[in-house]
C-alpha cells in the first residue's frame, strides 16, 4: 500500500515535471536558437519588453530588462517581426540553420503621434501578457503630466494609477492596495531605496532625467521578487547614450538639473551622470541677515551609471545614487539614501542568460544641536542608519518557445543602527547607544512562464525565503501577560554573541498567474501570491518622517505575511485604440505592527515592548481605461477599496478601517498633443477623505480641556473628500542654447481651482483659552501653485 502510494507520488512528480517544463521529445528535434539584444538606435539603450515574433510559427517572445531575447524554433526560413509601439517595426527574413546571435536597433518613428504613447509595447500586449496588476508608465508620459511646482515626479505620477494612493498630499511614499508605505519594495537598479522622498515627501528621490523605465507590480508578483508584502516599484536607470555625447538639464522652481552622458572606448561603454540640487537657499542668501546667515536649507541628489560591454557575452553595469536633505539653523538635521549596484550580464549561450547584481544600500540621518561652537558646554548629536549588502544572481533560461524559466537567489546582510547619540550638558558628556542589530535574509526561487496553448499562459513559481536575526545583540523578552495596549515590561535582557542565530524564520511563498485568452481582444487573468517581509519601518505618525527607524524581525517581531488573490478582465476596443481592465483583489495580512499609546519609538532599547501585533485585510475593485493612440491620450482610473485592521487592545478588539483607507479614488489623466510645438497635460483626481478619530467628550484638568472618546473606537469619522485639477503646457523650441539641440518650456498649474484639500482634521484647545476646544482642518497645499520649468538638451 505504502509502495503504491510512493509510486503514485513519484509518478505524479514526474507528470508534473513534464507538465511544468514540457521537455517533450517533440521539441528535441532539429531546433536552433537565435538570441541577441535589442537597443535604441538613437542612444544604444537596451530596450525592455520589445516583442519578437516568428510569423510562420506564430510564436513570440519579448526582451528582458536588459534587452536580451532568445527564440528557439525548428530549422527553416522565417519572417521575424520586431515591434515596439513608437518605434519603426522591423520585418526581416531569417534563415535558421544553426544557432546565432542577432542584435537589432530600433529607430523611433519620431512622429508627433508616437511621442504620446503611454507604454511602449505591442499594442495588445496587455491582453496577451501574463502580467496582471502591473502598471507601467513611460517617462515620456510622466514628463507631460502636470507636476507639483513643475518638478516631474515618478512617485506622484504613479498615484494616478488604480490601486495606488497616499495618505495625503505632501506625505512620503505611497500606499498600494491598502498596504503601508514600508510594504513597497522600491528598487533603483535593483537596490532598495529606504526613503523615497526629499523634503518630508514633497518630492521623490528619482531624478526624471535618468529614469528609463518605471514598473509597479501590485499583484501576481513573480517569484523573482520578494521581501515586501504589498508591491514592487521597479525603477530602472538609463544606461547613458552609447552613440554620442549629450548634455541635458533644466531650471525649475525647486531644482536645477544637469546631466551628461556619452560613449567611451569606441562605444563599448557609456555613462550618464546627473545632478539635481534645490537652490532656494542660494537665491535667499542675500536676503538673510546675520542670525540666519548660517541657516542651511537644501537637498540634492547625484545619480550615475556606466556600462561596459566586455564582449558579446559579458556586459557590466555600475550604478549609484547619492541623495541628501540638509536643514539647519541653530540645529542640524540631514538625511539621505545612497545606493550602489554592480551588475554583470552574462550570456552563457543563446538560451541561458544570467544577471548577477551586487548592491549596497544605506539610509541614514543625523540630528545635532548647533556644533559651530567647538567648546560647547551643551550639545547633542544623534545618528541612525540602515545598511545592507546583497548578492543576487538571476537566471533566465529560454527552454523553448513555450517555456521561459527564471531561477535564482538572493542574500542580504543587514545592519540596523537604531540610534547613537551623544548629549553634553554643562560640559558633561553622555553617550546613548542602542545596540546595532544584524540580520541575514536569503531566498531561492524558481518560476516558469509557460504558453500551454494559444489561449492559456501560466506563470507559476515558488520562492523560499529564509531569515536569521543575528547576534551580537541584546535579546529582550517581555511580560506577555500585560493587558493589550499597555507597555510590556522587560522580563529579561540577555546578550547574544557575535554570529549567534537569535531567531530564524522561513517561508514558502507560492506564486501563480494565469492568462486565459477569450478572443483576440479579451483575456481573463488570475493571480495569487504569498509574500513575506522581514524588516519593518516603525512609524506611528500619519505620514512617515525621516526619523522613522527600520527594525528587523526578532524573537518578538514576527515577519509580516500577505496572501493576495486577484481576478482581472482585460479587453481592448477599436483596434487597440482603447485598452481597459477590471480587477478585483482580496488580500490578508498577518503580523501587522501597531503601537501602544505613548509609544516611544526612538532611542528606546526596549522598543519592542511598545509594539502591538494584529491582522489586516484589504479588498477592492480597480477599473481602468486608457486611450493609446491619437492626439489625445490618457486614462481614467477608478478604485473602490477597503482596508481594515484588527489588533488586540485597539478599538475594543474589533475590526476598524485603517488610517489609509480611501473608499473611492478616481483619476483622469489627459495628454493632448496639439501641434509639434505645443502639448497640454491635465490630471484630475478625487478621493474619499481618510478616516479620523474624534473625541466624544472633553474634560478639564488643571485648566486644560482634554479629549476623551467614550467608546474608545478608532477611525469612525472621515475627513472631507479631496479633489483637484492640475494643468500643464509644454512648448517645444527648435533650438536650445547657442542654436543647438532642443529645448522646451513647461508651464504648470497645480490645484487650479484653489481648493484647500484637507490633509487632516484634528481637535485642539483654543490657543487663547486652553479650557475651550475647536476643530481644525489642515491643508498642506492650500493655494494655486503655478510654476515654469525650462529644459534643454544638446
Amino acid at each position: 500500500m505504502l509502495n503504491f502510494t510512493f509510486e503514485k507520488f513519484t509518478n505524479l512528480k514526474l507528470v508534473s515535471f513534464i507538465f511544468f517544463f514540457s521537455l517533450n521529445s517533440v521539441l528535441a528535434q532539429d531546433k536552433v536558437t537565435i538570441s541577441g539584444k535589442i537597443s535604441e538606435a538613437k542612444n544604444g539603450e537596451g530596450m525592455i519588453g520589445v516583442n519578437l515574433y516568428l510569423k510562420e510559427l506564430q510564436i513570440g517572445v519579448s526582451t528582458n530588462v536588459y534587452g536580451f531575447y532568445s527564440i528557439t524554433a525548428p530549422k527553416g526560413i522565417y519572417t521575424l517581426f520586431i515591434t515596439y509601439v513608437g518605434y519603426k517595426s522591423i520585418a526581416k527574413n531569417v534563415e535558421l540553420i544553426d544557432n546565432k546571435t542577432l542584435n537589432f536597433e530600433l529607430e523611433e518613428e519620431g512622429k508627433l503621434l508616437d511621442e504620446v504613447v503611454i507604454k511602449g509595447e505591442r499594442e495588445d500586449d496587455n491582453i496577451k501578457n501574463i502580467e496582471m496588476s502591473v502598471n507601467k508608465v513611460e517617462m515620456k508620459t510622466i514628463k507631460k503630466m502636470p507636476a507639483l511646482l513643475g518638478e516631474v515626479d515618478v512617485i506622484r505620477s504613479i498615484q494616478f494609477l488604480p490601486g495606488v494612493s497616499s495618505v495625503g498630499e505632501g506625505s512620503s511614499g505611497f500606499n498600494v492596495r491598502g498596504g503601508a508605505i514600508d510594504q513597497n519594495l522600491v528598487l533603483l537598479d535593483e537596490a532598495p531605496v529606504y526613503n523615497s522622498s526629499h523634503l518630508f515627501g514633497f518630492f521623490s528621490v528619482f531624478n526624471p532625467d535618468v529614469v528609463k523605465d518605471v514598473k509597479l507590480i501590485k499583484g501576481g508578483i513573480p517569484s523573482s521578487y520578494g521581501g515586501r508584502i504589498s508591491s514592487i516599484l521597479d525603477v530602472r536607470m538609463k544606461e547613458g547614450n552609447s552613440k554620442k555625447p549629450e548634455f541635458s538639464g533644466g531650471l525649475g522652481t525647486i531644482f536645477s538639473r544637469f546631466a551628461y552622458e556619452r560613449p567611451y572606448l569606441k562605444e563599448k561603454g557609456s555613462f550618464i551622470v546627473a545632478l539635481r540640487r534645490s537652490y532656494i537657499d542660494i537665491l535667499a542668501k542675500p536676503f538673510l541677515n546675520n542670525d540666519l546667515k548660517n541657516s542651511r536649507f537644501y537637498f540634492y541628489d547625484f545619480t550615475a551609471k556606466t556600462n561596459y560591454k566586455i564582449n558579446d557575452k559579458n556586459t557590466v553595469f555600475l550604478s549609484g545614487y547619492f541623495g541628501r536633505d540638509v536643514f539647519g539653523a541653530d540645529f542640524g538635521f540631514n538625511w539621505g539614501n545612497s545606493t550602489t549596484s554592480f551588475r554583470w550580464n552574462h550570456v552563457f549561450n543563446n538560451k541561458l542568460f544570467l544577471n548577477t547584481t551586487v548592491f549596497y544600500s544605506n539610509y541614514d540621518y543625523s540630528l545635532d544641536s548647533d556644533l559651530k561652537d567647538e567648546n560647547n558646554q551643551d550639545s547633542f548629536e544623534w545618528k541612525s542608519n540602515i545598511l545592507n549588502y546583497s548578492i543576487k544572481p538571476d537566471f533566465n533560461y529560454y527552454i523553448n518557445a513555450k517555456n521561459t524559466l527564471s531561477f535564482g537567489g538572493q542574500v542580504i546582510y543587514y545592519t540596523f543602527n537604531p540610534g547613537q547619540a551623544t548629549a553634553v550638558s554643562g560640559g558633561q558628556s553622555r553617550s546613548i547607544g542602542l545596540d546595532s542589530k544584524y540580520a541575514v535574509e536569503s531566498a531561492l526561487y524558481i518560476g516558469n512562464e509557460q504558453k500551454v496553448s494559444s489561449n492559456l499562459t501560466l506563470n507559476y513559481g515558488l520562492r523560499y525565503s529564509f531569515y536569521t536575526y543575528l547576534g551580537p545583540g541584546t535579546v529582550y523578552t517581555f511580560d506577555e501577560n500585560t493587558s493589550p495596549g499597555d507597555r510590556k515590561e522587560v522580563l529579561s535582557a540577555e546578550k547574544a554573541t557575535k554570529g549567534e542565530g537569535i531567531k530564524t524564520y522561513g517561508n514558502l511563498e507560492p506564486r501563480l498567474a494565469l492568462n486565459i485568452g477569450v478572443n483576440a481582444s479579451t483575456s481573463i487573468k488570475i493571480g495569487y501570491n504569498r509574500l513575506a517581509q522581514y524588516i519593518h519601518l516603525l512609524s506611528n505618525t500619519v505620514a512617515s518622517s525621516p526619523l522613522d527607524v527600520w527594525t528587523p524581525s526578532s524573537n518578538n517581531i514576527k515577519p509580516q505575511i500577505s496572501d493576495q488573490i486577484a481576478f482581472g478582465l482585460f479587453k481592448n476596443f477599436s483596434d487597440n485604440m482603447y485598452e481597459s481592465s477590471v480587477e478585483v483583489y482580496f488580500k490578508t495580512l498577518k503580523n501587522q505592527i501597531d503601537y501602544i499609546r505613548n509609544a516611544d519609538l526612538l532611542l528606546n532599547p526596549a522598543v519592542e515592548g511598545d509594539l502591538m501585533f494584529g491582522i489586516g485585510r484589504a479588498y477592492g475593485a480597480e477599473f481602468f481605461i486608457k486611450k493609446n493612440k491619437g492626439k489625445l491620450n490618457g486614462w481614467v482610473s477608478y478604485t473602490l477599496a477597503r482596508t481594515e485592521r484588527k489588533v488586540d487592545g485597539l478599538n475594543n478588539n474589533n475590526w476598524f478601517v485603517s488610517r489609509i483607507d480611501k473608499i473611492h479614488n478616481l483619476s483622469v489623466v489627459g495628454i493632448f498633443d496639439i501641434s509639434k510645438k505645443w502639448s497640454f497635460g491635465s490630471t484630475m483626481s478625487f478621493a474619499t477623505g481618510t478616516p479620523a478619530s474624534f473625541p466624544t467628550n472633553k474634560f478639564v484638568w488643571q485648566g486644560i480641556a482634554l479629549p476623551q472618546n467614550y467608546t474608545d473606537e478608532r477611525n469612525t469619522y472621515r475627513i472631507p473628500n479631496s479633489h483637484r485639477l492640475d494643468l500643464s503646457a509644454t512648448r517645444k523650441n527648435k533650438h536650445a542654447l547657442f542654436k543647438k539641440g532642443e529645448s522646451e518650456w513647461v508651464f504648470s498649474i497645480y490645484n487650479v481651482y484653489n481648493r484647500k484639500n484637507p490633509f487632516s482634521v484634528y481637535v485642539r484647545q483654543n490657543p487663547d483659552d486652553p479650557s475651550k476646544t475647536e476643530a481644525v482642518k489642515y491643508s498642506v497645499f492650500a493655494s494655486i501653485i503655478p510654476a515654469v520649468t525650462y529644459n534643454f538638451k544638446f
Binding site: F327, G419, N604, Q702, V763, Q765
Partner: protein
C-alpha cells in the same frame, strides 16, 4: 523632537494652511473627572471634581457636588477635603508636617453618587534649583507670539539627582502670571527629555533649562521657576496630555484616550472616572531680571 519638525515645517509649508471648522461629533456619556495634583507645600491644597461634557460644548464644566474626598497617608492618617463653597473644589489646609511624606505612597478616596473610587501616587524627591541666569538676546524678526524682539533669554540651573528614572515637570511665572498651556509644560526624564536619553545625574539639558522662556524677558521682569517631582505615570500622563493637545499636521499620531489612574473600587461598575491624581515635591526659584547682571551677547 516635534519642535524640530515644527520649525522645519514652518519654513517649508508656506503653502499650508489651518482653518477652524465646525465638526459634528457624537456625544458620549458624562463621567466623573478627578483633577487632583497635590504638593507637599504648607498651603491650601485642592481637588477639583467635575463632569465631562460634549467635546464642543462652550459652557464651563458642571461641578460634581456632594462627594466625599479623603487623602490617606501610608499609616492611614486621613486628611478630609471639603467643598466649602459648593463649587466642586474640595480643599484642605495642612496643619503640620503630618501631611505628604517623601518616598511614601498617598491614597485618594472619593465617594460620589454611591460609587467609590481610589487612586495611589508616590511623593518623589526633587533637586533644588541653584540659580537663574540670563543673557542678552535678539530674535532676527519680531516673534509671532507677541513677545519682544530684543530682551533677555533666561535659563535655570539644577542637576538631576543621581539614580535612574527621576521624572520632573517644569513651569514658570512671568510677573506672577503662571504659564500653563500644554505647550508650556516641560517634562524631564532624568536630565533629558525621555527615558532613552540616559542623562542621569546631569545638569538639566539646555532645551529644558531654557524652556522657561515663552517670550524674552525685559529688565525688571519677575521670573519664578517651579520644578516638580512627579511619579513616572504622571510623566507619561502629561506627555500624552501634551501630545493630544497639539496633534495635527503631517506627523500626528492616532488619537487615544489619556489613561487615568482613578479606579472604581467596584470593578463591575459601568461608571468609570477619568482624570488623574498625582503628588509632587516642588523646588522654586525667583528672581528679578537686572540688565546689569545679564551676560552680554555672544
Amino acid at each position: 523632537m516635534k519642535k524640530v519638525f515644527l520649525l522645519i515645517l514652518v519654513s517649508v509649508s508656506f503653502l499650508a494652511c489651518e482653518q477652524v471648522i465646525d465638526l459634528e461629533v457624537k456625544d458620549g456619556v458624562s463621567q466623573l473627572v478627578v483633577d487632583a495634583w497635590l504638593t507637599d507645600e504648607q498651603k491650601e491644597q485642592s481637588i477639583k471634581l467635575t463632569l465631562s461634557q460634549p467635546y464642543f460644548e462652550e459652557a464651563d464644566p458642571q461641578p460634581a457636588l456632594g462627594a466625599q474626598v479623603i487623602v490617606y497617608n501610608e499609616d492611614s492618617t486621613a486628611h478630609v477635603f471639603t467643598d466649602i463653597d459648593n463649587d466642586g473644589i474640595y480643599t484642605y489646609t495642612p496643619k503640620n508636617n503630618e501631611y505628604l511624606k517623601q518616598d511614601e505612597r498617598t491614597a485618594l478616596y472619593i465617594k460620589y453618587e454611591n460609587e467609590e473610587y481610589y487612586s495611589l501616587s508616590e511623593l518623589k524627591r526633587v533637586p533644588k534649583i541653584d540659580s537663574i541666569g540670563y543673557e542678552v538676546f535678539s530674535f532676527p524678526i519680531t516673534p509671532p507670539n507677541g513677545g519682544p524682539k530684543d530682551g533677555f533669554l533666561a535659563q535655570f540651573y539644577a542637576n538631576d539627582i543621581v539614580g535612574d528614572g527621576d521624572t520632573y515637570m517644569i513651569r514658570s511665572y512671568k510677573n506672577d502670571t503662571l504659564r500653563f498651556a500644554p505647550n508650556d509644560i516641560t517634562l524631564a526624564y532624568d536630565a533629558g527629555f525621555s527615558a532613552g536619553s540616559k542623562s542621569d545625574g546631569l545638569l538639566f539639558i539646555l532645551p529644558i533649562r531654557q524652556s522657561i522662556n515663552q517670550t524674552l524677558f525685559l529688565d525688571k521682569d519677575k521670573l519664578k521657576v517651579e520644578l516638580f517631582s512627579i511619579p513616572v505615570e504622571a510623566y507619561y500622563y502629561l506627555f500624552q496630555l501634551k501630545q493630544e493637545s497639539s496633534n495635527g499636521g503631517i506627523f500626528a499620531t492616532p488619537l487615544s484616550n489619556i489613561p487615568t489612574n482613578i479606579i472604581n473600587l467596584n470593578g463591575q461598575s459601568t461608571k468609570k472616572a477619568i482624570g488623574a491624581f498625582f503628588v509632587s515635591k516642588v523646588s522654586t526659584f525667583e528672581t528679578v531680571i537686572d540688565k546689569s547682571l545679564a551676560k552680554p551677547k555672544q
